[in-house]
Amino acid sequence: MMKSSFHRLLGVAVVAGTIGLAPAAFAQASPEMMADTCAGCHGTDGSSNGPATPTIASLSADYFILSMKDYKAGKRQSTVMGRIAKAYSDDDIAAMAKHFQTKPFHRPGQKVDAAKAKEGKALAKKYCESCHEDEGKVGEGVGVLAGQMLPYLQYSIADFLDGKREPEKRQKVKFDALMKDKGGREAFEPILHYYAGVK
């Protein structure tokens, strides 16, 4: 994956759709070509059918890039993503981020506990919505929570709380407040049911 700056330029040309007949061995693969290899685990165009692997469609490019770089550096807990992320250059990651940002997040609906989801909705309003806006569908530089796979959301919270993934400063403040007010890490569960169930 070592590329000279000339080859990086070629890569940009591919992104811009102005590619000529570059010799295959020297050009970066197109964003679509690279992104399509993700579908085997993450679903066609990045929308997962679950039960656990997250949807990566419609993630903000910033969040996608941050995630991949953290996986690559081993800063974020993973089972398989760390091994895969190591294969991609910063240019590759940026190209895929831009690609997936434009893809729709399909929300066919997951089975969640309705009572928990109702309780979670109120908690989410207080502890999450300032960053995870519009029912967790959007947010600057943060993951999409709405309709995300429930086991994945649970893994993420466990990893944050167990020190295997570093929370953002604002996030840490909110996490601490939630656990202090509601008595520990179980307080996350209703919130996760709420977000997982958003259609």
């Binding site: 693969a29 085997g40 679950g50 039960p51 089972t79 895969i84 992320a85 294969a87 893994y155």
Partner: protein
């Protein structure tokens, strides 16, 4: 097994007709014609992604069977964790994507005239042809093991009735019985598959027939994910103790089978005769029959340009999936799916007079070795034009760590199940 399905099918609909799924016959600009031979993971992916790449291309997929049973996850049927029906996929999704699906058996490909011929007598002219031949078995590699013998001693290495047969035999086996599996020589479909199978059968025995035993007679001295499997076997099935449910006999320790006694239900090895209640022979493999009949092979597999999967034997024909020589990618469902996309992009470009785009390939393969216990191997690949090689990106990929936590092994089970749902939807959905 598949030949029998085909015969039954053809007998049912008459030898001169074939059925077409309702494809939307919308008016299309006269586009290029691509015929895809074979509707497994490689062929179906290529057909679907070709339509995505360029909807003006007329894509016809010819597949003998009405349904495809995935070989991946079929070991879970043997343990009772999964139904055979959960592995079954039809072709309505492809028809919806605008692929014309024809159920017939391809018997010839004329690379000079550019025509595909079927057993039903139909002829399909093409501009480019994509062949996903899958695998066939090298009958006779183990003396005594034939296609007929497989009706009594299943291979279960093409999923469907063979999987059901082996499951039935394991269910009927008395507690205390011996299950012998013959593991194949490299290269073959799904390298960790035989050892995942042993794990899944061990899981079933542990709960239902704890006095039973599994003996793997291997033609090799090592295998894919070996340390991870042995760790799981020790954890769940007593491997390494005299009470182990699983015994693995490598070639160097006399494990290599030399003959099969079908009537006597025994496997001969160099020094021994191993009698069994149930035998599963996973035979040596080669490319599917059509690859040989069409003259696409060299040795056991079809050599290709690995950036486009165009045959090195016959121009205009692309060969991909388990039947092609796509080393260093393993013969896996994920690899077939990934190669299908590379091929689709190459064919779409070549049909419009452009150079094939730079390929990108990925493989990820999970093995479920026990309850809440799975691990994986992952690979990200690029094309090395100088060597015509698919090269793994250095410093990436590889195995789940040997010291992964129980929590990670458990997560990999859910990720394996997610992979199955997502890749099958990507292929046939």
């Amino acid at each position: 097994m598949f030949m029998i399905d085909r015969r039954k099918f053809i007998a049912g609909v008459g030898a001169t007709t074939s059925t077409m799924l309702a494809a939307p016959h919308v008016a299309r600009a006269a586009g290029a014609r691509v015929v895809v031979v074979g509707g497994g993971p490689a062929g179906a992916t290529a057909a679907k992604y070709l339509r995505r790449a360029d909807p003006s291309i007329e894509v016809t997929l010819i597949e003998a069977n009405k349904d495809y049973y995935t070989c991946f996850m079929s070991n879970e049927v043997l343990s009772g964790e999964r139904t055979l029906d959960s592995l079954k996929f039809g072709y309505a999704g492809l028809a919806k994507a605008g692929v014309e699906v024809v159920h017939d058996l391809v018997v010839g490909i004329d690379g000079a005239a550019k025509v595909v011929t079927t057993q039903g007598g139909q002829k399909f002219p093409y501009d480019r042809c994509i062949v996903a031949p899958g695998i066939d078995f090298a009958w006779g590699a183990l003396p005594g093991y034939t296609a007929e013998a497989a009706e009594k001693i299943p291979h279960a290495w093409k999923a469907g009735p063979q999987t059901a047969l082996l499951r039935k035999q394991l269910e009927a086996m008395p507690d205390g019985g011996v299950f012998v599996m013959v593991a194949p020589p490299n290269p073959y479909r799904c390298p960790p598959g035989p050892y995942e199978r042993a794990s899944q059968v061990a899981q079933y025995f542990k709960h239902h027939k704890p006095k039973s035993k599994i003996i793997i007679l291997d033609t090799k001295d090592g295998f894919s994910k070996q340390k991870l499997f042995e760790q799981a076997w020790a954890k769940f099935y007593g491997f390494g103790t005299d009470k182990s449910l699983i015994e693995w006999v490598p070639a160097s320790k006399g494990g290599k089978p030399t003959a099969l006694d079908v009537a006597g239900m025994a496997v001969q090895t160099e020094f021994d005769t191993v009698k069994a209640a149930v035998i599963n022979v996973i035979p040596a493999q080669k490319a599917g029959k059509i690859a040989f009949d069409a003259g696409l092979t060299e040795g056991n597999w079809a050599p290709v340009n690995k950036a486009t999967f165009e045959s090195k034997k016959i121009p205009g024909i692309h060969v991909l999936g388990d039947g092609s020589d796509a080393a260093t990618m393993p013969k896996s469902g994920y690899a077939a799916n990934s190669q299908g996309k590379v091929t689709a992009a190459a064919v779409a470009a070549m049909l419009s007079g452009k150079a094939a785009p730079t390929p990108a390939y990925v493989n990820t393969c999970y093995s479920i070795a026990g309850e809440n216990h799975a691990f994986s191997v992952a690979g990200v690949y690029t094309y090395d034009a100088e060597k015509n090689a698919i090269a793994e990106v250095q410093g990436s990929g590889g195995l789940s760590p040997i010291d992964a936590s129980d929590e990670d092994r458990k997560r990999e089970v859910l990720y394996a199940q997610s992979w199955f749902r997502n890749i099958t939807a990507d292929i046939w959905g």
